[in-house]
């Protein structure tokens, strides 16, 4: 049996269907390194290949597992691997990405091990009693810290929320054997991986975001949002009304039931600023809004607001920015 450091933080790294580490890995390992020794768990076919990526991002040790039902069953095989890893490592905390797959794996693992579960943390720290999770709730209106009554907390970490990065470590791999729990699971019939054709930054964790709302009027006219985003090197977001109208896919939605972003710059075009939209963007450093309705609530939180028609203001803005670049 191998010894793991007493201050080990077990970090489950998400992988994409095509078998790469997801972008959340750097932040998770960065957070873990701030409170202990990061021990990464990679549950993927051919996970050994990813171990050096994990080490480069700060994993002192890398566990690699490939449970038999991996890819065939939903959630359960990875939860089984996480349970086996926690048994072996006996960590001070377990960190998992607050992605759809990640948080459900954390959910099953926490329920099974009866561990305290803290979700959607935007940071972690440590005090004399253990690891603490920091949360930003009700759309960033409150800061909440949580701890657990005993044992290692299971913490899901909001994607893109952690800026800290860990130092690269030498690669140290161990293969983890996973005994199947035989818990009943849903069957994965097929996977349709979304092809990322865009060279734009990803919405989560982006430094700049340009979002469009119902005010864009149509899918074709939404292209104006893309154009401004490209001039600024920004990610593209949208309101729920724009998603519902079919201008953009659901993954673009910013807000309470979409993605939460905290960029340096957030530009809202033709978005009224409903409270559910604000909940996902009001922690942005600088907010710019363009809306033809002077009473739109978005102006209450905008650092720079323009009352005007976005179809005249935005093309002029793009031209002015391009002229400065040239």
């Amino acid at each position: 049996m191998t010894d793991y450091p007493a201050d080990s933080i077990l970090v489950l790294l998400d992988t994409t269907p095509s078998g790469a580490l997801t972008k959340s890995a750097a932040g998770l390992l960065g957070a873990a390194a701030g409170v202990g020794t990061p021990v990464a768990l990679i549950v993927a076919a051919g996970g050994e290949q990813l171990a050096s990526d994990a080490a480069a991002l700060g994993a002192a040790r890398v566990l690699v597992a490939e449970p038999t039902e991996l890819g065939a069953q939903l959630t359960v095989p990875v939860a089984d691997a996480l349970a086996a890893a926690a048994e072996l490592v006996r960590p001070d905390a377990v960190l998992v990405s607050n992605s759809i797959e990640g948080r459900e794996i954390a959910a099953r693992f926490a329920a099974r091990s009866r561990s305290g579960l803290a979700v959607d943390a935007v940071g972690v720290s440590r005090d004399a009693e253990g690891v603490i999770a920091h949360h930003s709730v009700y759309g960033g209106a409150y800061n909440v810290d949580s701890a657990v009554t005993w044992g290692a907390p299971v913490i899901t970490v909001r994607e893109g929320a952690i800026d800290a990065r860990a130092e690269a470590q030498p690669v140290s791999i161990e293969r983890l054997e996973v005994a199947a729990s035989a818990r009943r699971a849903a069957v994965i019939d097929s996977v349709d991986e979304a092809v990322v054709t865009s060279s734009r930054p990803e919405l989560r964790g982006a430094a700049k975001v340009v979002s469009g709302g119902r005010g864009l009027g149509s899918e074709e006219q939404f292209a104006l949002v893309d154009q401004l985003a490209d001039v600024l090197g920004a990610a593209v977001g949208a309101s729920r009304a724009a998603v519902d109208a079919g201008y953009v896919p659901q993954s673009y939605q910013v807000g309470q039931t979409g993605v939460s972003v905290s960029p340096q710059l957030y530009i809202a075009l033709g978005i009224s600023g409903a409270i559910q939209h604000r909940a996902g963007m009001q922690t942005a450093k600088t907010i710019v809004a363009i809306n033809k309705d002077a009473d739109a609530p978005i102006f209450e939180i905008a650092d720079f607001g323009i009352v005007g028609d976005l179809f005249t203001v935005v093309p002029q803005l793009i031209a002015a920015l391009e002229a400065r670049k040239a």
């Binding site: 269907p17 997801t22 939903l74 959630t75 759809i100 459900e104 959910a107 099953r108 926490a110 329920a111 099974r112 009866r114 561990s115 305290g116 579960l117 979700v119 603490i132 709730v137 009700y138 409150y142 800061n143 909440v144 810290d145 701890a147 657990v148 009554t149 005993w150 907390p153 818990r183 009943r184 699971a185 849903a186 069957v187 994965i188 019939d189 991986e193 979304a194 001039v231 659901q250 309470q256 039931t257 340096q264 710059l265 409903a274 409270i275 559910q276 909940a279 600088t286 209450e300 939180i301 905008a302 607001g305 323009i306 009352v307 005007g308 203001v313 935005v314 002029q316 793009i318 920015l321």
Partner: protein
């Protein structure tokens, strides 16, 4: 087929939502409360299946303070056959673990073929309860579904995952959760509201569902500090007089944002 739909009373997000800075609990008096929209959509999935399958029983289950009974009744008015409310002083401020155990206990008490929940509530937005409950009940979780097809003995659908979508199938009994891609819920009509008054409404305590809130066998998550952030204030607002695009470009450049 017995379908249990998990519903929740939440602060109306169209108003301001407050946390009580002393207790750390949602300040229910500070905002209007509503049935969570995603729970209504979950109920709609059950009701539209029941529309086409006469032998379907739809139960709404809610863990909530007693005062939420009126909100839970809305589920009956929309068309559920009966309602169960889990009410217990010991559940005030319950963490995710205790909430999952309490709901799993209630589900075992009620009996179910299919449990339908929203993928995440608008207040807690944890997105973990359906999978936790599935684990505790040892049934499959087919969660985060953009579409739902209920058949004899199984449930299928398209799962919104992190890198695209998946087709998943679960054998019943199962727990599913749905996304807001599913249709809006029907409105309760007058007939439904009148009928709701005569429908069974059961109140359960933790003891009745066999859950001990005080057990030290489970570790619980507790809030150790809470602070309100100062609200954001408005900055400059200009009315476009033909040069607003130029002025915004200047602002962005000056602030090193472009």
């Amino acid at each position: 087929m017995k379908i249990v739909v998990l519903v929740k009373e939440v602060p109306d997000t169209y108003g301001d939502r407050k946390l009580n800075l002393e207790t750390g609990l949602a300040d229910r008096a500070a905002s209007d409360t509503v049935l969570d929209e995603i729970g209504e959509r979950a109920l709609e999935v059950a009701l539209s299946y029941a529309d086409g399958h006469a032998d379907t029983e739809v139960v709404v289950l809610s863990m909530s303070p007693e005062a939420a009974a009126a909100t839970v009744r809305k589920g009956l008015a929309m068309g559920a056959s009966s309602a169960v409310q889990l009410v217990d002083e010991a559940l005030v401020g319950a963490d995710l673990g205790l909430t999952a155990e309490a709901l799993a206990g209630a589900l075992q008490h009620i009996g179910y073929d299919l449990v339908i929940a929203g993928n995440e509530s608008t207040d807690g937005s944890g997105g973990v309860l359906p999978a936790m409950i599935a684990e505790l009940l040892d049934v499959p979780n087919a969660t985060s579904l953009n579409s739902v097809e209920i058949a004899e003995g199984e449930v299928r659908g398209e799962r919104a995952s992190d890198h695209g979508t998946m087709q998943v199938t679960a054998t019943l009994p199962a727990v599913i959760s749905i996304t807001e891609r599913l249709p809006d819920a029907r409105f309760p009509n007058f007939k439904g509201i009148m009928a709701a008054k005569k429908k069974p409404f059961e109140t359960l305590s933790l003891a009745e569902v066999g859950v001990d809130a005080e057990t030290t066998e489970a570790s619980r998550s507790i809030m150790i500090s809470l602070a309100e952030k100062p609200p954001r204030t408005a900055g400059t607002k200009i009315v476009d007089e033909g040069d607003a695009g130029e002025r915004l470009a200047e602002y962005l450049v000056q602030n090193r944002l472009a």
